[in-house]
């Protein structure tokens, strides 16, 4: 029934399992991973919708809280939904909804000439719409054709300004380009002109606003969704219309069997320029900002403690004559700089003389210790070129390993080279 070309669909990451097969989509709730795996294996082996339904229902309905099966056979699209799943079908401008919520068994609908399908599955985990061919994915929503992540002009009121983009050779009256191509006209003309292989139109997409998306698909509530312009769905069973933005008009009867290059995962840059828009995607988006709170700065692996202490834990006596209290992070070097500190924890930068330039510009750090080192100072070589030698009382001299903090004993001597040493004294 279908060729080997995978059917690209767009999905939003989520919890449900969605098995995307050549002419069907099966979705299962998060607790049925076993079933999803079995179903994927069956689909991958070529199972059709009937076999899949048998497989899924084999263990009964009681343990199957939800289910969605959308299959296409010729012109007919059949939908079966149970539980949380809701499926929206668009055919000839009319919408049909199959809603599984609140039903004892399931809801089933069949629609001819479906142009676009949106399958709502449950809470999203956030993130961008992604493209998938035949695959097992975790999704909150699946849409196809892939273009049906609606673009800015997907509303019925869109001006028919791109009628010129229609393929001259189009034989299918249903393939009216819907006047919804959002790409600049010349790009569309190019895509339309090269009929055998309408490549994805990746020209700059004029500013798709998230708000527009919300209008276009009422159920979208994730502000981070950006439109994805991708190559047209050329699955034989899918309709040929380009109801949404960015889809090159394609001939209903392809002149050659392989008119289209599938957007393989290896596609170098599958994201449309529209996705470059970071407007509206603030930290209030789907990412949990707490994951990205400030990490301990300075020394990786060392617990962050108060880097400013009320009393100094040590005094550094420089051989150049200066002395520096360690009541906060102290960074020493030929021309030291401090990176990535917070407003309340500004380090003290101490410039030391280095006539031979042997000392690195940012050479080492001494800071009040935390945890087991509480009450003393710890020294860390910050990746200096010529290294640092530490002599602790009663211990052999050691070379500091860059980035590894060492607790300082009173009386320790730190040698930075170029004749400069630091003696660690009690405050």
């Amino acid at each position: 029934m279908t060729d080997a070309v995978p059917t690209p669909r767009t999905y939003l990451p989520g919890e449900w399992y969605a098995v995307l097969g050549p002419s069907l989509v099966l979705a299962l709730p998060p607790d049925r991973r076993d079933l999803a795996a079995a179903a994927w294996a069956a689909v991958d082996a070529g199972a059709g919708a009937e076999e899949l339904l048998d497989l899924v229902l084999a263990s009964g309905l009681r343990d199957l809280a939800g289910l969605a099966l959308v299959s296409t056979d010729g012109d007919r699209t059949r939908v079966l939904v149970r539980g949380q799943a809701v499926c929206l079908l668009v055919a000839g401008g009319e919408e049909t909804v199959a809603d599984g919520r609140g039903l004892t068994t399931w809801a089933e609908v069949g629609v001819d000439g479906v142009e676009a399908v949106s399958l709502e599955l449950g809470p999203g985990s956030g993130g961008e719409p992604l493209l998938a061919g035949d695959a097992l994915v975790r999704a909150s929503r699946v849409l196809w054709p892939a273009e049906s992540v609606p673009g800015p002009a997907s509303g019925p009121a869109a001006p028919p300004s791109y009628a010129a983009g229609r393929l001259p050779g189009s034989t299918d009256p249903a393939s009216e380009p819907s006047s919804l191509l959002s790409s600049p006209a010349p790009a569309v003309a190019v895509a339309a002109g090269s009929a055998p292989a309408p490549e994805p139109v990746l020209d700059p997409d004029p500013e798709p606003e998230p708000d527009t998306i919300d209008q276009a698909v009422p159920s979208v509530d994730d502000p981070v969704i950006a439109p994805v312009d991708e190559p047209g769905d050329r699955d034989e069973d899918a309709l040929e219309t380009a109801p949404f933005a960015g889809m090159p008009a394609a001939p209903a009867v392809p002149p050659v069997p392989e008119p289209w290059t599938p957007p393989a995962p290896s596609a170098p840059e599958p994201w449309s320029p529209g996705a470059d828009d970071h407007d509206g995607r603030t930290q209030d988006g789907s990412w949990d900002v707490s994951e990205f709170q400030r990490r301990p700065h300075g020394i990786p692996g060392q617990p962050e403690g108060p880097s400013v202490t009320s009393r100094p834990v040590a005094v550094l006596q420089l051989s150049s004559g200066d002395s520096v209290e360690v009541d906060r992070v102290v960074i020493l070097g030929r021309a030291p700089e401090a990176r990535r500190f917070s407003a309340t924890e500004q380090p003290r930068l101490v410039t030391v003389p280095s006539p031979q330039q042997e000392i690195s510009s940012t050479h080492l750090e001494v800071r009040p210790g935390t945890g087991a080192d509480h009450g003393s100072a710890v020294v860390t070589d910050l990746g200096s070129t010529n290294g640092t030698v530490l002599v602790q009382p009663g211990l052999p001299a050691e070379s500091l390993k860059p980035g590894i903090p060492v607790q300082l004993l009173p009386g320790a001597v730190i040698d930075l080279g170029d004749g400069l040493s630091i003696t660690v004294a009690r405050p």
């Binding site: 970071h278 917070s342 407003a343 930068l349």
Partner: protein, 272 residues
């Protein structure tokens, strides 16, 4: 502290795709800011404009260079309060789920242990670079999802450049999260040329191209224009904004810097 003589150039362009320039830029020596606003319903351009206004007022009023970090933190706080107040007002007016936010990258001359230094602060993905010895180095660290992924070793820096979420930022001024800025303190002498830019520049041209321009165009004004032109040339998919500042020396008087400041004020017409 000695007077530091700075020459600067600033340029901004709406780009080839956007309709509104939500970037804002301030060049009021020795204070420089680039802010990249975001949010629909004009939230973005208002938010970035607020940042510029607040820092312009700070520069105008003068600040204690020895306490520059505090001053910047306070000014950022004032920006955030105003942005939130504005968003609140819009929501109250029934604009809907309104939010306004902006990135900010700030550079100003500070004093540390009696020496002049650049104090930089950033939130979001607007960047600070320095050119030294003909080499360009990124100083700021983006507060973005991909940067976090790079730092945790999940993806490489090269993968980050094309990652689909590369524009999702994790810290911003505005919104409910009160995230903090990162600060950087660089000795003045370690920076020959300082660059602040929005991701409409850094996202469109790579560091190598940026370095080529910055290293070959001597006048900072020409360099700023050239960077924006290069970003447009590369596609101009976002608002492109850049400030280029050269430290030309320390002097007791700084005729050129003062003249430039006055000229800027006349152009902007906004400063009293």
């Amino acid at each position: 502290m000695r007077q530091v003589e700075l020459h600067h150039g600033a340029a901004t362009d709406v780009g080839l795709v956007r309709e509104v320039n939500e970037d804002a830029v301030l060049a009021a020596p020795p204070v420089f800011v680039v802010a990249d606003g975001m949010g629909g319903h004009e939230g973005g351009d208002v938010a970035s404009a607020i940042v510029v206004e607040e820092f312009a007022a700070m520069a105008e009023g003068g600040y204690d260079p020895a306490r520059a970090t505090e001053v910047v933190a306070r000014t950022l706080e004032a920006c955030r309060d105003r942005i939130e107040a504005y968003a609140e007002q819009q929501r109250a007016a029934g604009v809907g789920p309104f939010h306004a936010g902006t990135t900010a990258v700030v550079a100003l001359v500070a004093e540390h242990e009696g020496q002049p230094a650049w104090l930089l602060a950033n939130m979001g993905d607007s960047r600070a670079y320095r050119l030294h010895g003909g080499r360009l180095h990124q100083v700021s660290v983006d507060h973005s999802v991909v940067q976090e992924l790079v730092e945790t070793g999940v993806i490489t820096a090269d993968a980050a450049a094309v990652h689909p979420e590369r524009h999702v930022i994790t810290r911003a001024l505005g919104g409910t999260e009160r995230s903090e800025a990162d600060y950087f303190l660089l000795p003045l002498g370690s920076v020959e040329r300082l660059v602040l830019c929005s991701d409409g520049i850094s996202g469109m041209i790579d560091d190598e191209e940026m370095q080529g321009i910055l290293d070959s165009v001597p006048d900072p004004r020409d360099a700023a224009d050239a960077l924006v032109a290069a970003a447009l040339e590369a596609g101009g998919r976002d608002n492109a904004t850049v400030v280029v500042v050269d430290v030309v020396g320390s002097a007791e008087t700084s005729y050129d810097a003062e003249r430039q400041r006055l000229s800027l004020q006349q152009k902007l017409g906004a400063l009293p």
